[in-house]
Symmetry: C2
């Protein structure tokens, strides 16, 4: 088979200099992360609670009217966490730039950061617990692999530990996947110990090849262990039954297997924005941590305002509130990927157009966080270089592995600072607006 294919490689966009971040806020986010891991885990084991939903473990620095700053959680993501690989390289990049610029004092304050190693530690722990040397870790990937180098950093860490890795698409699993009588998963003849989803976080990822009816995914096989790292959630409710496909069947096959899933379906659902919204309500956090007032206080301190658009009284109040002062809010679709948020007057026209339609329940309203802008240069292939007023968003990578009732690993394995020009209202790194950065603790 001879084929020709030209691949174009470009660098991931990044800031020329690190961005200032108050030390106290960084440590607040760091210390909250293992508690978030436990929270997500407990939610994933609460099927009744999982009818309500929500979004990433990202923070923005909220500048109050009195000028003080605080940490506000934007979203939690439990599937396909991106940029843990690429951001593992950014500390060295900023250290190099600061050396060339002869800013040696700042250089010493760049934090070490290696989420790739931490995510791989979780995956390798899960692989060990599965307990078969020949079994592989399978990265479930998109067909057009725009962020492949980000995956490779995690993959390389696994190979360094002599853990074999394969990369497969939904289609490969459909075509060559099967379970044996012990529910062991085989793909292309290879036994799979761990499925690591780097795809499957948006409904569009589940492409239809033939119109088979939607297979239920509501009763997943309980895996012996699982592992979770945070990024990019999907709401399954967005998917119409008529567009269900082979990809859904592949997902079900993997879910039913005894392979470790990162994440399994319930952990995946625990990352939806609806869940986060529920958690913000009085008394809800306490249900998950009945004897830990300090934990609930620490988690609640990071929550930003979230408002439902459900059909009903509370949803009606939210619509009225948004129409009255649209500049104070962000209208977010109930799934991740970036680039779809709605701001300002557009909120009014969108809400008015779907006020009486179920369509509005696919959105959620959030308080707009007011971060403090800082000057920086954003380096992006093909974009002009100029000084911009920038906003930063801090994310934390959490990883945990539970076997049965035992938490085998629970760590904050790194951070992700993303920065964008303040003239761009919306967008993650993947959406081409925010770029990779490092915090310079102040």
């Amino acid at each position: 088979c001879i084929y020709t294919c030209l691949q174009v490689v470009s660098y991931a966009p990044f800031t020329l200099f690190p961005s200032p971040l108050p030390k106290t806020l960084f440590h607040q986010a760091l210390e909250a992360q293992t508690h978030f891991n436990r929270l997500i885990d407990r939610i994933s084991q609460s099927p009744h609670f999982l009818e309500e939903a929500l979004s990433r473990s990202d923070y923005m620095l909220d500048q109050s009217l009195d000028g003080t700053m605080s940490l506000k959680q934007i979203e939690i993501n439990t599937i396909a966490a991106s940029f843990g690989g690429l951001t593992s390289r950014t500390p060295d990049i900023h250290r190099h730039i600061l050396k060339v610029a002869n800013r040696l004092e700042e250089r010493q304050r760049i934090l070490d950061n290696n989420p790739a190693a931490g995510l791989a530690k979780g995956l390798s722990k899960a692989w060990e617990l599965y307990g078969s040397e020949r079994a592989v870790v399978m990265f479930l990937v998109e067909d057009e692999q725009r962020n492949i180098y980000d995956h490779r950093y995690v993959e390389n860490e696994l190979w360094l530990r002599d853990i074999p890795v394969i990369r497969r698409q939904f289609e490969d699993v459909c075509r060559t996947g099967s379970l044996d009588q012990n529910k062991r998963l085989f793909v292309g003849g290879q036994e799979v110990a761990v499925v690591y989803y780097r795809n499957g976080y948006m409904p569009q990822n589940y492409k239809s090849e033939q119109n088979t009816p939607l297979t239920s995914v509501s009763k997943p096989h309980k895996p012996p262990t699982f592992l979770c790292s945070f990024v990019a959630a999907v709401t399954f409710g967005d998917v119409n039954a008529s567009i269900a496909s082979q990809s859904w069947e592949a997902r079900l096959l993997m879910e039913r297997s005894c392979a470790v899933k990162c994440p399994d379906i319930s952990t995946h659902l625990a990352g939806t924005k609806k869940v986060q919204q529920e958690l913000a309500r009085p008394g809800v956090l306490e249900r998950f941590f009945p004897d830990e007032p300090e934990t609930t206080a620490r988690l609640r301190a990071t929550f930003t305002g979230l408002y439902t658009l459900d059909m009903g009284e509370e949803g009606e109040r939210t619509v009225d509130m948004a129409l009255a002062a649209p500049d104070r809010y962000v209208l977010k679709p109930q799934r991740e990927g970036g680039g779809n948020n709605i701001y300002g007057q557009e909120i009014c026209s969108v809400l008015e157009s779907m006020r009486d339609s179920m369509e509005r329940t696919a959105y959620i309203l959030m308080d707009k966080v007011q971060p403090r802008p800082a000057s920086n240069y954003l380096l992006r292939p093909g974009a002009p270089l100029r000084l911009s007023l920038c906003l930063s968003e801090l994310g934390m990578f959490g990883a945990y592995v539970r076997k049965g009732r035992e938490m085998v690993m629970n760590e904050c394995v790194g951070h992700l600072l993303r920065t964008k020009s303040s003239e761009h209202a919306d967008g993650g790194v993947a959406a081409g607006v925010a770029v990779l950065d490092n915090p310079l603790l102040i």
Copy 2:
């Protein structure tokens, strides 16, 4: 100044697997390298000898009629040695591929190789000897930087040693370069300790901006120290006086300075193919090593047949020989860069067209080395993947630093194996035909 510029990055082509190379030949080349360093150094200090000329320290495996293999030197290069950076990464690449392919025994036999570190060691030694902490190492580079990542590996090694590096073009030196009364070189206000030429190896590199007469470069200022690593030579004789330019003036400025040059002009000239041709003649090597019969024997063992095309009796004999059996020879221009060699029947038409013209002296005739082909896959952006019958060429990186009469450093700092499909008659890695490889010693 706002500008938009899209840069396309592609991987350097490489072989999927390492190529077999007999252990004895590898060590023969390795052991000869420090002697070649000394030879080049002695030639560079022999102005009378430098009227005759020559080319890379590359070897091909010569398979004689009886099936045995031997080492034959193809060329020595004393300027802008390429791929020392990129090839420092290839051992890890082949180790990874062999691990994925579960060929673990071969994996253990991939040699360590880090020419980038070795070249940087030489440059840093020269920088130290120059003795000014503020002074920089200046990489003299092309304006269209097609091989920039190769440079960066060497540059990064210098930054790791806290040695500042700048990258400048001939034009920058023309515009902002000057000498002070102590012949210290300043470019853009920065004192330059070491000039590392990664450009200037071909006459075309010396672009004309205004038609100034050719400035003589025959009496260079003797530098207190110099350093040399081998690759890609230029013959100054190719340059017509009427196209002389500012670039030549920049070269002269740097040459006259007390900055360390890698290489200085006499070392540069010592790398021409004419010099190599002279060295192959009986008694010539002995002039440089009068008391070292073992050294001369070791060097002579690596020489391949070289024949002059000068106007005269000996040149005439060469032409007749080539016309009689063109398939046994290669017709090479007297400068480097790759992709210009002439083979087979084309040798006859070229030689016949210029038989009576001085033009022919710009070429040299060489025995065609008959290497042993091996099967491999060549990975190249946009090219189809298929099994090819391949030929390999081994290069050695030498680095030395001399201060006055004292040899401060003299090492073989790594190797370079390049492989091409046997259907391509000619070409280095830069010419897009040969690709990076690693030897698998057998």
